[in-house]
């Protein structure tokens, strides 16, 4: 089982308390009426699906109820960090440095 650090509770807790919520840092379109069908398709369905460190959203569902962001390595399934929603992307180079 994965252990996930909730940045709001400041505790590292079992995965069973959390739910996955897709890729992080996907901004809603500012002018929806000006979006073309291709833009909508890109926004709604296209995800980066990277192999390696991936920015994703999680929710502490059975706990504080908050959404937060995490960086997880999709190869090793290791969490590199978690941070509060709205915070900027952490610097990937500094996160992966210790793993090399």
């Amino acid at each position: 089982m994965l252990l996930i650090h909730c940045p709001y509770c400041d505790e590292t807790l079992p995965e069973l308390e959390f739910t996955y919520a897709g890729e992080a840092h996907i901004a809603r379109p500012e002018n929806p009426s000006e979006m073309s069908d291709e833009d909508w398709q890109e926004f709604l369905f296209m995800r980066s699906n990277v192999k390696g460190p991936y920015h994703e959203r999680w929710r502490h569902f059975h706990g504080c109820g908050r959404y937060f962001n995490a960086v997880r390595d999709t190869v090793s399934d290791k969490f590199l960090t978690t941070y509060k929603a709205g915070a900027p992307r952490p610097d990937l180079a500094s996160l992966t440095e210790g793993l090399k």
């Binding site: 089982m1 709001y8 400041d10 308390e17 706990g63 504080c64 109820g65």
Partner: protein, 184 residues
């Protein structure tokens, strides 16, 4: 698809040498959502809302636990809750918030006995020892969201939504018997 409302007569439900589960006396429950400056809310309720998630505070008649960064659950008598509702209604214009009576939503089980903490591990994935006596948490029990209050080392209260209550009680009863069977 309406689940029957669980109504347990306050009193002992399961008893074994390892742990006991009883239904708590009904109380009024209020859900409070607020953000920003908490001082006016603390003054109106007479208790402390600030603190770590899971921390508790009591005014004597009203008991609060912080469930999330902007969420609290308040337990108290009918009168205490009614006066809290009146007090907070006065704050609403300057400090918008949400205060909802959720008394009908949940029942509480009191779980106590020498192996009460161990009994909770049958359904709770987190380490019970990290919930210190005098605090509590919202967590998961057999996949169901519950609010755990740890009143003492071997005494807990568990707030459970009505529709899950009979299932969780069955599970706790099985656990009580299993733990008791290990005592010779």
């Amino acid at each position: 698809m309406n689940a029957p409302v669980s109504s347990f007569t306050p009193g002992m439900l399961v008893e074994s040498p390892a742990a006991r589960v009883s239904a708590a006396v009904a109380c009024t429950r209020l859900s409070l959502r607020a953000r920003g400056d908490l001082a006016p809310f603390e003054a109106a309720l007479g208790l402390s809302l600030d603190g770590q998630i899971g921390s508790r505070s009591s005014s004597g008649v009203l008991e609060a636990m912080r469930l999330g960064p902007d969420e609290w659950i308040l337990h108290g008598s009918k009168d205490a809750a009614a006066s809290a509702v009146t007090e907070l209604a006065g704050l609403y214009a300057n400090h918008p918030h949400s205060l909802v009576d959720v008394s009908g939503r949940e029942v509480s089980f009191v779980i106590e006995g020498p192996r009460a903490a161990e009994l909770l591990t049958i359904g709770c994935p987190r380490n019970i020892e990290t919930i210190l006596p005098g605090s509590g948490r919202r967590t998961s029990f057999d996949g169901v969201t519950v609010v755990l209050w740890r009143d003492a080392e071997t005494s807990f209260r568990m707030d459970v939504w009505n529709s899950f209550a009979s299932h969780l009680l069955d599970l706790l009863a099985t656990g009580c018997r299993e733990l008791a069977a290990e005592i010779h």
